[in-house]
């Protein structure tokens, strides 16, 4: 307990995690899409979660607008909501599926996996 104190965690107040990338496992079979998706049957998509609080960290690569909005929110939370924790960099995945003509198709779908999160 003494150790956590030294790290400056405040007692009794649940600290909200800052904006960061979290796990999100997508299972096409559970979605009921496996009648047309051959592969993959599941994949790791990740998602962004957490607060964008003042001051914004540089790795969140905020836009100038996000910096202003976060500043306004920190001064008067009732006047302006905080900026949003969203994916800022995404990558594609390959999907093998059956199209409406029952042909087997390979396609590279963009923006399917979160690589980085940021505040916008």
């Amino acid at each position: 307990t003494a150790l956590t104190n030294r790290h400056g965690k405040r007692h009794g107040k649940k600290s909200k995690t800052r904006c960061s990338k979290k796990a999100l496992h997508v299972n096409f079979k559970e979605l009921g899409w496996d009648d047309w998706i051959i592969a993959p049957l599941d994949y790791e998509a990740y998602h962004c979660e957490g607060v964008c609080d003042f001051p914004l960290r540089s790795h969140l690569e905020p836009t100038n607008h996000a910096i202003i909005q976060t500043l306004m929110n920190s001064m008067d939370p009732s006047s302006t909501p905080p900026s949003c924790c969203v994916p800022t960099k995404l990558s594609p995945i390959s999907i093998l599926y059956i199209d409406s003509g029952n042909n087997v198709v390979y396609k590279q779908y963009e923006d399917m996996v979160v690589e980085q999160c940021g505040c916008r």
């Binding site: 496996d34 051959i38 995945i93 199209d99 029952n102 042909n103 087997v104 390979y106 923006d111």
Partner: protein
């Protein structure tokens, strides 16, 4: 197809194990079985006729395997020469049957329904892949020198579309013949027979290179009888879409096509079950909503 597989040592071991020859000499891949277990809905219930069950060709599985492995390494699949910078690769399975009127088999037709090929996507390449079976017992008559000349034409035209030579020694082993047919899309855009179905038709013949005599295609294992789905010829179209593909588009297309199939079946079933009109009291039974 240039082997572009990026195989990790463990996969190498797995791949070596995976090449389990089937009784009829067909290779199958454990990976195929991994992603296509018999419980998979697609394998589980073949559409209409078991013969037409939707089974991906090994070529499509190897494309998926190679490019998804490249993605995991942060490489963009469209950089591979074999993908021709396409981000969509569609395989259409041959719907033609042997022309049994002629015996011996001098010509072979290949018919493809390419109606799902999107006009919004740019076609960057197309090839016809034909599986040549090992000819089996007829081999003796083939002991000859000189190459075979495989020639491909659009149906109803004698304008040579593509050709390649085949060594008699190679013809004793089974293998895939790949012919570039991109030209076909440029010169003969798919004919609109019905506004839904766009057909592409190819005709193939093989001659002896030194003379123009045509060879019986059965001797070269190019007949179609008794082929499994994975041994049928496929037309592979490489397309590139500039616009970002929306995952739900495929879903909507699927649902739409499924609904039309259901409606057709419903109508047919209704016609069969409706009693003939004209006899009082025997009119159609009102269907409970």
């Amino acid at each position: 197809f240039q082997s572009a597989a990026i195989i990790t040592p463990s996969a190498q071991k797995r791949n070596r194990e995976a090449r389990i020859p089937h009784q009829d000499g067909q290779r199958s891949s454990k990976f195929f079985r991994d992603i296509f277990p018999s419980s998979h809905p697609i394998a589980g219930h073949p559409k209409e006729d078991p013969k037409d069950a939707i089974v991906p060709h090994e070529y499509m599985l190897s494309i998926y395997r190679t490019y998804s492995a490249a993605e995991k390494l942060g490489l963009n699949a469209s950089f591979f020469r074999s993908s021709k910078s396409a981000n969509t690769i569609t395989s259409f399975v041959d719907r033609g049957t042997d022309n049994l009127l002629h015996s011996p088999l001098r010509r072979q037709k290949y018919l493809f329904d390419v109606s799902t090929l999107s006009e919004k996507e740019e076609l960057v390449g197309a090839e016809l892949r034909i599986f040549r079976r090992a000819p089996g017992g007829l081999q003796t008559s083939l002991q000859r020198t000189g190459l075979y000349n495989i020639q491909l034409y659009p149906c109803g035209s004698n304008r040579l579309l593509a050709s390649r030579s085949l060594d008699p020694l190679d013809s004793t082993k089974s293998g895939w013949e790949v012919l570039d047919v991109w030209e076909m899309f440029k010169v003969h855009p798919p004919r609109q027979q019905h506004h839904q179905h766009q057909q592409l038709c190819f005709q193939l013949r093989v001659t002896l290179s030194k003379s123009d005599t045509e060879v019986d295609l059965r001797q070269l294992g190019l007949d179609k009888s008794g082929r499994s789905q994975q041994d049928k010829a496929i037309l592979v179209a490489y397309t590139r879409s500039k616009k970002r593909e929306n995952l739900f588009n495929e879903m909507k297309e699927k649902i739409k096509s499924q609904r039309t199939v259901d409606e057709k079946e419903g109508k047919a079933a209704e016609e069969v079950s409706l009693p003939k009109r004209g006899v009082r009291g025997e009119g159609p039974r009102r269907r409970r909503r």
